[in-house]
Amino acid sequence: MHIMEGFLPHPWWEIWFAVSLPVVALGVYKINRMIKERRETLPLLAVAGAFVFVLSSLKLPSVTGSCSHPTGTGMGAIIFGPWITSVLAVIVLVYQAVFLAHGGLTTLGANAFSMGIAGPAVGYLIYRAAAKSGLHIYLAVFLAATLADWATYLVTSIQLALAFPAASGGVLASFKAFAAVFAVTQVPLAIVEGVVTALMFKYIVQLRSDVLLRMKVLSSDAIKRLKEAAA
């Protein structure tokens, strides 16, 4: 989903910076407030950030014969919400843009939007809706993380299509061309990411369910049920 350095023309790179900057700024503010009020959440925040670090470094082969990478943002989105997760994503994107020539500083706004904002927002909303509907919690986590990953790549396709509309067929035709590269390739990767995130979530439930309760990720009833099932 990384749009490479210099590959977004004016005015698109500025537009995506303008969209992403306020969200990330609010995310920084929310992190500061959370650390001040609930210091005990800090290690879990570090784990969620580290999860993004690990998953986004793995370039995995897919059924289309090309490689892509998961995003790892679903976990942060479920526990801390999309605002805070956008900051975690930006840290990783800056690391990759500066040291790896992967993504870029001029395209940071667009990449932060797809990976740090749109994907996590989708994941967060799906988790909340699925958990409310009474779906098994780990299934809700799986769906949220899988679709957060997939949505990230669809948004990248939209961003590229808007910037490079096809001569015939316009934005829609070029969306199809970009989605052909990203969407199918990403399906198996998104599923693996969903399963791994669900597994990670299980361990966090076992070890720090108190934080999940305080962040209103799980009700005390749900925690009790999950712990009984694991006992």
Binding site: E5, V47, V54, S57, S66, F99, Y138, V192, A198
Partner: protein, 123 residues
Amino acid sequence: MKMQNIKLEIIALGVIILFIAAFAAVSSQEGHEWSGADSQAEDVISDLTGGSYQPWYSSIYQPPSGEIESLLFALQAAIGSLIIGYFLGYYRGRAGLQMQEKRDPVKRAPERAAEEGEGKTDA
């Protein structure tokens, strides 16, 4: 009950095996480059613009070789794994200790009192 315990782990293992099997199946056919989807998007851009688009800015630093690039990617994964392992291990150890105290409160109580006493003199 034991199986119930690790149901999710078994599912995860199954999915990963399927993923590897899919890779093996696709690999057995010829003609796949296994290139990155991100760089394929660059090809789509050059198709759409008839090759006229030139990136207007280039990366401030380019890893000098594929080896260095994979080193930096591995470093990224290592930093992340280290943090996850450290905290989950710490919490697991702590949870184990708490369980032990619950099971055997008499034996642990004097030690605990001693620790608390020490804490007080420090403060």
